[in-house]
């Protein structure tokens, strides 16, 4: 599971109002090489929940020096964009859990696949 995906995922347990962002507990993390496309990264930034991204990267110990806010005029700042690229697409959680921040319900991640299926009584 890449952190870009994590940024989109939310808890949908019945009754939960604030299911975003999911907490990450990882037991295995991998860093892959993915082709860097500056346009992709700079257009993605406005679509992201930045604080959730930084928090997630932090939880995985992969934050490095990613700032708490996107730097001004990031579109032309290749150095910054590369940092974001790395955190969004190259860091992957292979094994671990996602946790609903409100209900505490855990969703396992195995082989990089988060299992978000709910039991019948939770829907």
């Amino acid at each position: 599971m890449k952190l870009l995906t994590h940024n989109m995922l939310t808890s949908h347990v019945k009754g939960v109002v604030n299911g975003y962002p999911l907490l990450i507990k990882a037991t295995e993390v991998k860093v892959n090489e993915v082709d860097f496309n500056p346009q992709f990264v700079s257009r993605m930034i406005p679509k992201l929940e930045w604080s959730a991204l930084v928090q997630a990267a932090d939880d995985l110990g992969q934050r490095e020096d990613l700032p708490g806010e996107p730097v001004p005029e990031y579109e032309n700042n290749e150095e910054f964009l590369k940092k974001v690229h790395r955190v969004l697409l190259e860091v992957e959680v292979i094994e671990g859990f996602l946790q609903c921040p409100e209900s505490g319900r855990e969703f396992p991640i195995s082989r990089g696949i988060p299992n978000m299926l709910l039991n019948d009584d939770e829907v």
């Binding site: 989109m8 992709f40 696949i113």
Partner: protein, 493 residues
């Protein structure tokens, strides 16, 4: 064994047979030819677009559906093989727009037989030969044409690769690898002898495949194939073989239009990305066509909420890699197969050197209850259960409205789009008609999927905020799913 012309042109053919065209062609000459391609019916225009984009020429759409034609010079042949919207390729020997078939069967077939010796075979056969050499190289279509840059440089390094043994292809049938090994063996001699000498009289095997459509013909496709094939055999002294052939001659007849061609691809390589099949895996050319219809932009988030083996998002991650793909399914086997397919491609990419990560992720989820933030997805592309091989008609009645709503929820209002493939047109149309507040129908592309008549419905997400459209208000009043109620009540309160 010397040819009557200057160069080693008609190597492998009987030199006694007078060539139909009298211009001498030497290996390395660049020829102008017309290429024909079969594409999924309904996607002729998207295929023509791809040809314009990648080859830079205008394609004609054949009168018989599912075919396009475009002119190239032989140096462009490698790029032609990189086209993602074509199933099969052939080189045109001759085309007749208005062929006047005779009244009687005997006369018509006789004329066809005489045609065999008069057709301009030379250039087409040159292209076939050149194509055979391309196929031998590692990374040719079968092995993977994932990174375009790499493929081109491999073609340039021809002499190095020729000597190597071709790696067995990873996808599909054994028959393919057999034929390939044979033509590789045939070609190997000619290239190592610096392309001048003739190969040691290898007898070429061929077959004729005839496709005929129209109600005014006096003959059947079998008869045409048989008689035309007989004349071809007579002319070239090739050996007829229905299964282990080197050359496949195509005779395509559609009313008054007749096209004779030579095949450049064996068995359609539909499922080039998929090594782990599922029960309903969609062919890659169809996946490509559907994605192209949506015109993915840089940083678009593209969702396939019922991905099966991941064919659609994987094709996207490879071919439209400026976007990001999230593939999901509720089924254990499906998500595992998807991940296996992704890993397989990434491994191939890694073997060629360079970055091997693809912009795709897989999640296990319930598509009627997606764990995705509202309004965060740009495009939804998926193959919806048809109710025949997967699911059931009755299930579709409940499933379609629920998943259409959920897809509307996650799609960005105003700009979001969806391309949904389904055969259950009745159920789909009904479900969509009740969602005018969320989805607007754009156009529909009619396609043929495994013999079933299906539609790719292109939808645009309206600007309507989810939970506040009239249908939501109506539906939240005590019907359907519990979650639907919850959302409705919450929005109203």
């Amino acid at each position: 064994m010397s040819s009557q012309e200057g160069g080693a042109v008609e190597s492998g053919l009987n030199p006694a047979a007078p060539p139909a065209s009298c211009c001498a062609v030497r290996d390395g000459d660049v020829l102008a030819v017309t290429i024909g391609a079969t594409v999924p019916t309904g996607f002729e225009h998207t295929a023509a677009e791809e040809v314009k984009e990648k080859i830079g020429v205008d394609a004609q759409i054949g009168k018989d559906r599912g075919r396009i034609y475009f002119p190239i010079t032989t140096d462009q042949l490698p790029q032609v093989h990189l086209l993602r919207s074509v199933d099969n390729l052939f080189v045109v020997v001759e085309e007749y727009d208005h062929y006047h078939f005779k009244e009687s069967k005997e006369e018509t077939l006789m004329e066809m037989m005489q045609l065999a010796s008069k057709l301009p075979w030379t250039h087409a056969l040159e292209v076939w030969k050149l194509n055979g050499k391309l196929k031998k190289r590692k990374g040719y279509r079968k092995g993977g044409n994932v990174t375009k840059v790499k493929s081109n440089s491999e073609v340039a390094d021809a002499t190095v690769d020729d000597a190597e043994q071709q790696k067995p292809p990873q996808a599909v049938s054994a028959a393919e690898s057999q034929t390939e090994a044979e033509s590789a063996a045939a070609m190997e001699t000619s290239t190592t002898d610096s392309e001048e000498a003739e190969p040691a009289a290898k007898l070429l095997k061929f077959r004729v495949t005839c496709n005929r459509a129209g109600d005014r013909h006096s003959f059947s496709s079998n008869e045409a194939a048989r008689d035309f094939g007989g004349a071809v055999q007579e002319f070239f002294q090739w050996k007829a073989d229905m299964t282990k052939f080197d050359i496949e001659v195509l005779l395509n007849i559609h009313n008054e239009e007749m096209v004779i061609g030579i095949a450049l691809t064996e068995e359609s390589l539909h499922r080039r990305n998929i090594s782990h099949f599922g029960p309903t895996t969609l062919r890659s050319t169809l996946c490509y066509g559907m994605l192209r219809l949506c015109k993915p932009q840089a940083s678009d988030i593209i969702l396939d909420p019922m991905c099966g083996t991941g064919a659609i998002p994987l094709e996207g991650a490879i071919e439209f890699n400026i976007s990001f793909y999230i593939a999901g399914d509720n089924n254990d086997m499906a998500v595992n197969r998807t991940v296996n397919n992704v890993c397989h491609i990434q491994k191939r990419m890694a073997e060629k050197g360079g970055a091997s990560g693809l912009p795709i992720d897989t999640v296990q989820w319930d598509l009627c209850n997606l764990p995705i933030r509202t309004g965060s997805v740009d495009i939804v592309v998926t193959d919806m259960p048809f109710g025949k091989r997967m699911g059931s008609r009755k299930k579709n009645w409940d499933l379609y409205p629920s998943c259409l709503r959920e897809m509307a929820r996650v799609c960005t209002p105003g700009t979001g789009k969806a391309a949904l493939l389904t055969q259950d047109k009745k159920c789909f149309t009904k479900a969509i008609s009740r969602m005018g507040g969320l989805w607007k129908r754009l156009h529909t592309v009619w396609v043929n999927v495994g013999g079933l008549h299906a539609g790719v419905y292109l939808l645009k997400r309206t600007g309507g905020v989810f939970g506040q459209t009239p249908e939501d208000v109506y539906e939240s009043r005590g019907t359907v799913k519990a979650r639907g109620d919850e959302t409705g009540d919450k929005e109203l309160s």
